[in-house]
Structure formats: structure tokens, C-alpha cells
Amino acid sequence: MKEQHTTKKWIFLGATLFLVLLLVIVWSVTMGSANISYLTVWKITIWKIVFSRIPGLETLFDGSWKSFEETIVWQVRLPRVFLAGLVGMALASAGVVFQGVLRNPLADPYILGVSSGSALGAALVIITGWQNSFLGAWTLPLTAFVTGMITLLIVYRLAYVGHRVKMETILLSGVVVQAFVGAALSFILSVSDERMQQIVYWLMGSLALTGWEHGWVIMPLVLTGIVIMWLFTRELNILALGEQSAYHVGVSVDRVRLVLLVMASLITGAAVSVSGTIGFVGLVVPHIVRLIVGTDHRVLLPVSALTGAILLIAADTVARTIMEPRELPIGVITAFLGAPFFAYLLRRRKRHYF
């Protein structure tokens, strides 16, 4: 009886979240400096997604909008919402996994140095002016992705002591590597006078990359990563009660941990490579969701992914509209929202864990 009750509850919660996501998307696509009415926005969207793809139907639709409106909705706003959703999803689910595996409520997707590594790579590309060199528009995100992964490998290698990776060691080596990479980054900033603005902007996080292709490329990475992590959530629940006792109920602790950390880092790297370092989403979303759905990772992970998408789309909408026509870095918005919320959580936390 209890089982059925909870299943119904999760379906209801899932449906509610999807509805909220849809509403946020509608709101986000409608907001913007170019004044386009709700109706036009949605006529364009539906026409683009449905009618223009079915031969013979395109003429049935009332195509009474201007071509600049179509460009703004279809080439600027929608891809941006799509990207924000993916990045939010990636950061929030990586946050759940890092907090679970490292058994540290303060862990976030950036704790193992992935973001600093990516940022360093990006800064190098910007300062050398190679943004559009060998891989065209892809140079920056790809370099960021690769350098992030290299940093992760170094952190792992450092934490690998006597055949196994210990959790305390991995956190420490993360701190050590970040300190070094951070110094390298500061050095680059201090010698890079005129490009500094651009690097700093990237560091603060931004979803201003236009067009659909970035989203399409990270989407398979992010979704596969989340699905694979979700397959290991039963193990994650067991790990939360202690690694030794998890080993003795039959969990291959080392292997599970490796898969989870690599997947979480992979989707973090994917997110950072298109959006820079957007803080607090991966830290705060899992905490908020845990307050609502509890600590079962099988529920926590998917719900956090949806909530992350909602939150980041909303934050990005605020970032680009609140000081029109200027656009704020989205990292500023998430930090303004996230830091006080986190402080509040710290103060009111009564339980021992989380």
C-alpha cells in the first residue's frame, strides 16, 4: 500500500515539474529586448517544430510574422533556452552524484578541479587569439573540455595511493590541483590586459553562445551521463551509509565510485565547455530537492536534473533581461540567489547529514 502511494506521489511530482519547466520555457522565450508578442512567439515555435517539418502542412499555417521575429525566436532565444536547460540539468545531477559519492554536502561539480582546468584551457585559447583557428567555433569549448578532463586525470593520479583512491585524498588533491591551476589562471589574467574582460566574462559563466549546434553536441553527453549515473543510484544509496559496509553487501565500491565520478565530471566538463563556470547550481539544487523528496538517490537524481534545468533557464532569463540591453553574467545571478540560500540552509540545518 505504501509503495503504491509513493509511486503516485512521484508521478505527480514529475508531472508538476514538467509543467513548471514548460511554463519557464514559455516565459523565457517571450522575454527579451525585442518586443515580440506571446502569440507570435508561440506561432513561430509551433510552426518550426511541427508544421514546417511535414510537407504539405506548411501552407496551412498563418505565417503572418516578420522574418526578424522568426530569427530572434528560432535562432537566438530557443537555442539559448535549450542550452540553459541542458547545462542546468548537467550541473545539478553532477552535484547530486558528487555529494553522494564524496559523502560531503559541500561538494559540487567543480570540486575535483574540472572547472578550473576548463577555465585555464579557455583562457589560453582567448589570450592566444585562437578562438576561431583550427576547429572554428569549436576551438574554445573543445579545448575547455579537454583541459578539464586532463585536470581530472591529474587529480585522480595524485589521489591514487597504494592501489586505491581514498575519498579524503581525492578531495585534498582536488584542492591542491585547483590551487595550482588557479595560480596559472591568475598569471594569465595579469599579463593579458586587453583580453582580460573576455576571460573574466567567460569565468563568470555565460550562455551567450548562439545557434543550436552547441546544445546538440552536449546533449548526448549529458543525457547518457545522467542515465548511466541513474543506473548506479541504488549503489549510491548504499554507499551513503559507509564504504566498508557497502563493500560487504556486495557493492564493488571502487568500480562504482570510478564510474560515477567520471560520468559526473564528464557532464560537468560538457557543461563548462559551453557555458563557462556557473556556480551554485550544482551545490544548491540537490539541497533544495533533498528537502522536498528526501535522500533516495533514485528519485533525487532525476528530480534534481529537472529542477536544475528550470532554475538555470529562469536565471538566464533574468540575467539577459534585468538590465536591458546589458546582459549580466549568469554566474552573478546564480551566486546572488544561491549564496544566501545556502547560508540559510546552513543556519537552519538540524540534521546531522545534509
Binding site: 541504488r234 551509509l241 559507509g242 560487504h248 553487501v249 557493492v251 547529514y353
Partner: protein
Amino acid sequence: MLEARKIGKKWGEEWVLQDIRFSVKPGECLGIIGPNGSGKSTLLKVLSGAEKPDTGEVLLDHKPIRNYSNRKLAMKMAVLPQEGLQPYPVTVYDTIMMGRYPYLKWYQHESGEDRRVVQDILEETSLTGLAYKTLDQLSGGERQRVAIARAMAQQPEIMMLDEPTTYLDIGYQLSILNGLKSWQRKKSATLIIVLHDLNLAVQYCDRILLMEKGRVYKWGSGRDVMDASTLQKIYGVRPVVIEHPDLKVPQIILQSGLS
């Protein structure tokens, strides 16, 4: 069924276990005792497969333990390490259900059978009333009971426990050991318990393994081990050994040495 063959274990350059040989029969209860640092916990880690021995090997049903997969091993053997369960906000019911992990394939959900096993164990261990409390709301003793219940849900042939009663009051110590014993009798399972308390060890265990400096000092019945001169040699105190009036097993009484 479980056999230790010339086990040796090094931490760095130092041998912490040397030439350990003994075997445990099905249905037997073995108590491992010895002073601090004599290698009791390390021995349990090696026996349970959590640490690999540097020499010798552990055989489970005549097969080296390293040849078992984690899951296969967890079906045969449940282990309660000293660290116990973290006070994490997960319900008692869900925690015990984790004991079914080795029986579930990655794509499988818990079946009615699994739920029945958990339900039975909840009743046997009198945890039904706490089933929907979370671990962080329980006391240390209650969490220990949950840990044992989870181990029972693995339906193992052998259960190993590393000082399951330390830090608990005498009421809890007895109720935990009694629970383990009645489970053991019902399932004719094997128990291997590291204990600090010599009197309890002799009361509950069929055989005692007395460790000293990484070696087996004595392996035998309670009467063989609970001998004033042996204990004086190992622990450096001279206790008074008397017979338990009801259970007819040797018990010790400490004397301060002041007079």
C-alpha cells in the same frame, strides 16, 4: 567451510598477522579475543575479503575467497565492520532492504520475495515499530540492531562482527548477542565475533581464538583459554577465574592490585 591457511599480513614493513591457521565449522560460533593491537580487526578484514593477505589464503567452501565476486561473497557472508552505519536520513526499512542487493540484478526491482524477507526480519529483530524512522533519528544501539538486521537480510551462511557491542550498555550488549545467537541456531549459520569482553566471549562462543602480537596464541574451548596464567601472560593482569554458577563456564573477575 571457512579455513585460514597460514595467513600473513604486512602493514608497510611490519607483519601484523603471521602464520594464522584455523578453521570454523558450519554452525559454530568463534570468538576472537586478544589485547589491543593484537591483530583481531585485521584478521577479520582478511577473513572477510576486505583486505588481501600477503601470504597464505582464506578458503570458503574449499575455494579461495579472492575467487568470489563481491556479490557472491555477500550472499555467503555478511560482515559488520567497526564503523557501523552512518546516521544518514534513510529509513530502517530501506536500509534493511539494502541487504537484498547481492540478489538483485542491476535492472531488477525488489520483488515480493525480498519484501517478505525484510518484513520477517523486522519482526524477528523487533524493529517493526522503527521501520519508517530514519537512521539519524536512532540511538547508536538501535543503529547497530539495524546493521545486524541488514546483515540478516543477506541470508548469509556466515556472519562476522567486529566488536558489535562496544559502547553499548549491558542491557543492549546482551540483547544483541542473544538476538545473534537465536538467529544462528535457527539458520544453523556460523558466527565469528571479535569481542573485547572475555566473559561474554566465553558465554556465547563455542570456541575462542586468543590472539597475541599478530599470532594465534591459543585456539580452543573457553576452558582452555580462560586460564589465569595465560591471561596474565597476554594481558599483564592476574584475574581471578571462577565458574559461572548457572552456565558452568569459566568467568573472570578483575582485581585492582591495590589493597
